[in-house]
Amino acid sequence: MNKYLFYPGCSLQRTARPYMDSLLAIREMIGLELEEIEDWNCCGATEYVAVHHVAAYALVGRNLALAARQVNGTHTVMAACSACYLNLAKTDSYMRQDAHLAQQVNTALDAGGLHYTPGTVKVRHLLDIIVNDLGIEAVRAKVVRPLKGLRVAPYYGCMIARPDRDNRWDNVEHPLALDRLLKALGAEVIDFPMKTHCCGGHMTQINQASAYELIRRLIHGAAEYHADIMVTLCPMCQLNLDAYQAEMNRYFRTDYHVPIIYFTQLMGLAFGLEAEALGLGKEFVDPRPALSRIGIELPAAEPETVTVGEQPRRKKKDSGLPMPRMPGSKEADE
């Protein structure tokens, strides 16, 4: 077993829960031992650093400092989310290069009784660890249900491959790690030219026309290559391409239907695991038709008829949209 310190990140708790579930389901089969960083906080995504400078690096610095305290047999921090991976790696790398920044971050950390010496931990992405530490052969050895005939578009997104200041990847625009991994699962991997193009990131919340165009390019690209399914390793990419695909279709009056799931889910399927254990069935674009074409039958998803009025214990009639609740409020405690 190879042991790593694990930084899950906010997305894997919820929006990308299927990524987490499938990772946990396959970890023992590939000899991956994970120790979660205790009481980690959000990495700030692409937002904190747009508002604050020292605080953005101190925010990530706290996670690095907590990880450094847990160093025991391993000093590698693994993140499965590309944005988390980049923020952790970037903070460590900038603290190494910029003594003034490192000193400011540590002055801030000192207010919380913490300290981080740059370079104490090594930050790596899950894909890097699976392909380069555990190895493609170890993955191939576990395949009991080869994904023969499934045309897969490997989609890396931006932030895993770039800027790559620590030289972790073979190529910053056309990396091959995921391609190789998917081939080992028996899938037919298309040479996807848009594999590291942008999914739109937070633009779905800023300017929909821009976001939908970026989503359209990727979905159209995958469809042009007759991909049955897209596979990703980034929660933001999965969310944008999956949950906004219908809106994008409406916007452009197109009718694309390209499912997108996590590479860990496809690994689990090839390893013979059950769909539920892999978090499958929580997609907006149904992957079942694509998977049934190669003989993988997933149970039907739960009916999606959410009749708001029939939900039990409902008090207010007029609230059409569910509203956020703060902890400690009456509703949250129900």
Partner: protein, 199 residues
């Protein structure tokens, strides 16, 4: 290995001297590490690689020329940094290895500090997002999406109902934020950091 060690000799040569007090120096000083912004040769590879260039008031190349020309307010009012999607294509393709994406973040911070932006959608989104981090230590998608859209796109809320309900029924969104245990520790760290930024 640092990137300086990887650089060909002609790129590792010492940068041209600064004009003291220039906007260029201000932007470089506010960017972590060595941004290499003074090395820009105006080739335009950045704009040509940018997925958002068509929506930008100025291409990154133009912005860098404007920074050198000390066009402070025009730069900070430009929508360019706000349309940067952080894909880092420009950064890895730049023949001068300018840290373009990080320079865009610097421009966003300066624009927010001086309230020099014409469209508040993106700056507000960032500030709402970080508000949840400062209160809970974790991001909170549901609160963020509801608050942000109520404020900036109320008319589009009905079209987002399928998305919101889908996320909730599929168990991909929480109605309540998660709070880290040592939130006071995180707040103390962030407050000290923000004090340092002011000095």
């Amino acid at each position: 290995m640092t990137e300086q060690q990887n650089l060909p000799a002609h790129q590792a040569a010492s940068p041209p001297p600064f004009v003291p007090g220039s906007f260029l120096k201000e932007v470089m000083d506010a960017t972590p590490g060595d941004s290499r912004l003074q090395m820009c040769i105006q080739c335009g590879t950045c704009g040509g690689s940018c997925p958002s260039a068509a929506d930008m008031d100025h291409t990154p190349r133009q912005i860098f020329a404007m920074i050198r020309a000390d066009m402070r307010e025009a730069v900070l009012r430009s929508n360019t940094p706000w349309y940067c999607v952080s894909c880092y294509y420009c950064t890895v393709r730049c023949p001068q290895e300018v840290h373009i994406t990080d320079v865009m973040y610097t421009l966003k911070r300066m624009a927010i500090r001086e309230k020099l932006y014409d469209d508040s959608t993106a700056p507000d989104f960032s500030q709402t997002f970080i508000g949840y981090i400062e209160n809970f230590g974790r991001s909170f998608e549901f609160g963020l999406a509801t608050r942000h859209n109520l404020r900036h796109r109320p008319l589009q809320l009905p079209s987002m109902v399928p998305f919101g309900l889908g996320m909730l029924t599929k168990g991909r969104m929480d109605l309540t934020p998660q709070r880290i245990e040592k939130i006071e520790q995180l707040q103390a760290i962030l407050n000290r950091a923000i004090e340092l930024e002011a000095t």
